[in-house]
Amino acid sequence: MLRAVPSSAASGSAAPQVSVRVVELRRRIDALERAGSEPVAGQRAGLLGALPFGAPEIDDALPWRGLALGALHEISGPSRDAAALGFVSALLARLAARAPGVVLWCRRRGASYESGDIYAPGLAAFGLDPSRLILLGAKQGRDVLWAMREGLSCPRLLAVVGEVEDAAVGLTASRRLQLAAEKSGVGCFLLRRVPPEGGQLNNAPPKGGHSNTTPGNAEEPSAALSRWHVRAAPSGPVPGLEAAPAAQRWLGPGRLRWHAELRRCRAAASREWLVEWHHETGNFTVAAPLCDRSVEQTAAGLAI
């Protein structure tokens, strides 16, 4: 069910020129295309609509000019790094800057030994006030799903985030979440940790290009409106030192970058971007894909 994306992607800021009629039509198509049978999505979704990335390349590729709120979005990432977590935190920071409310973050208590505790100063660095977070530590994975559904029934929440590690969520559970999100208009992010591609014991992780064949999880049916896979990418230039010489290695990591791959989305083609997060402005940009390739190789060569 691909839908024609407006061909104004090149101009970048097409939104103001779209007529009221087109907006209205889009909204109706929206309502039809979401999973639920209810014609009218939640009140908040109607007001806030979607959360744009701020990068026109991504927003134009998505049918709602951003991530639709009042819907379930699944974001998976390798379990050994916090890339998906960072990506979600950036999205939440953007959301928190636009609307009031608190975020319910559900995870299994035991997950902190595997991937660490959510660290308040780290959230603050993303521009997300830690006091706007309610952190729920569930004992079991299914309690996480229950708590998410419970949170989605409260339209005063800004968003609900759930971390699921291994267990398959399944079509039924994800559909329930999607319906609950639609009803209340609260954004829902399902954060999934998948084993790193190439296996846990592989000492030499595959370099360069990615493979689309994450075992098991990618093919699992889900009612999520969009499914993303986020991997870490070599960081961009250090803010303020964009013109630094090649000895960038000692300047340390710069702006956060991720390979954000849109694996599945209703009414949009799957694509991949190299996104860069600007924490000063709270914006995403799409980085030029080749900009770090040479640096990365020389650095790796130096290291070995």
Binding site: A82, R109, D117, A120, P130, G137, C154, P234, G252, A303
Partner: protein, 532 residues
Amino acid sequence: MRVAAANRAAEAAAGIVPGLPLTDARARLPDLRAVPAEGGADMEALAALGDWCGRWTPWVALDAAGPDAVLGASHGLWLDITGCAHLFGGEMALLNDMARRLARFGFAARAALADTPGAAWAVARHGAMRHISARQKEERHSEAQQGELAKHMSVVAPGKMRAALAKLPLKGLRLVPAETEGLERLGFRAIGDLYGIPRGALARRFGEGVMHRLDQALGREDEPLSPRRPVAPHRVRQDFAEPISSREAIAATARRLLDELAGVLEADALGARRLELALYRGDGKVERIEVGTSAPARAPSHLMRLLAEPLDALDAGFGFDSMALAASQCQPLAPAQLTIDPQTPTTAPAVVAAAQSLFTQEDGDDEVSRLIDRLGGRLGFTNVRRLALFPSHMPERAAVSGVASAPAAKGLSNLSTHVSHWPAAKQRPLCLLPRPEAVEAVAMLPDAPPVIFRWRRMVHHVAKAEGPERIASEWWHAEGAAPLAALLDGEVDSIRDYYRVEDDQGRRFWLYRDAPYRAGMAPGWWLHGLFG
């Protein structure tokens, strides 16, 4: 060894009474069956029975400190039924109900009802009531049984204590044995004998104790009873003609009680912080459900959702025949204004939005705290937390978390010293491992960042690194005085050099090296956090 308690059969057959030496008792009745007394178990059983008596009144006190408490023979229960009797059809009907139910459990109970605890105590133990064993009672037909049971129950009419006590023995005054003996030596046999004696004469000879007890029994002096369980001022209850055990019936009753309680609370402008639902089983057990809320609440639908979860776990046994709901902890809650229905269709959505933000601003907090209640009720309130920053350089101390059920959703008001901003120059990871994990790392120079390290059996080639950021433990947490908990948390390494590193895949980590560098010793490297 002495007899601590004897059943009525033993008493009737051979005059075996508490206090008799066991050898004497065996001599009188060779086939006497004696078991060691278990004072603790007796007390537990009495306490459980007292809890179950909460079906008649919440004000139940244990009478365990009587003069013969040593022998365990005269334990009893006080029930303050002030204002309760009419709920059961009058005082006599209440006593009958009590007698019937207790007899069904096999207890041989005697009860008396009087204006003062002292008078009731005396009449219940020494009043003119016939003894009938529990077994005999069961054998009789129900109507006759009612009549017989009534003989174990007596009601002292209001203001008639003086007459009722006059003929009772002095033991009924709860005196210490020495006082009783002293009075008997002087020829006093009944309580009534003391009525005409001048107070001064008695006090001179026996001290204040005798007059004190007499005054208490006759109502000239107050004797407060302290209830076994805290008595909630707001309590509603429901009896059933037939025991109920189905979940639907219990839930429906709970809902009705909640509606009733909401009315009671609203009249006093209160909201419940803690609710206790007591379900009295027909076989003398009590099931209790306690739920807490994060903010005062009285909305029945919300409280019902909290109660619904533990209702599933009830052990109904043969069914419940009474339920009582009490708000055991309350806080002021102003009567609610009616809010504009957010679903009201309006032409312009913006108007609805504005109206919502005007009228339901506080309602929003309310909804969030209700959500916290529901989450906490099922998963435990300690597992629903809020985060805050704390002004400390030590990474472990820089973040604090508090239980989210603290008043309202206004941040961590119970954590007084939190800061709202984190300096941007200090870059911190998004995830902090609960304990730093040791990594094998290779660095070119002692104070250089690593070029390669192995964490969790995987090798990472460092592409970019920044550091060190030296973080020392705060001087007021001196190393010598490090508490054990800090020691276990790995905080004892008082100086650390932190590096932000990125591997060739772009994964970003927070590593530190033990500092300062000591010649000849390979420094330990630790991974402490993951950046987004």
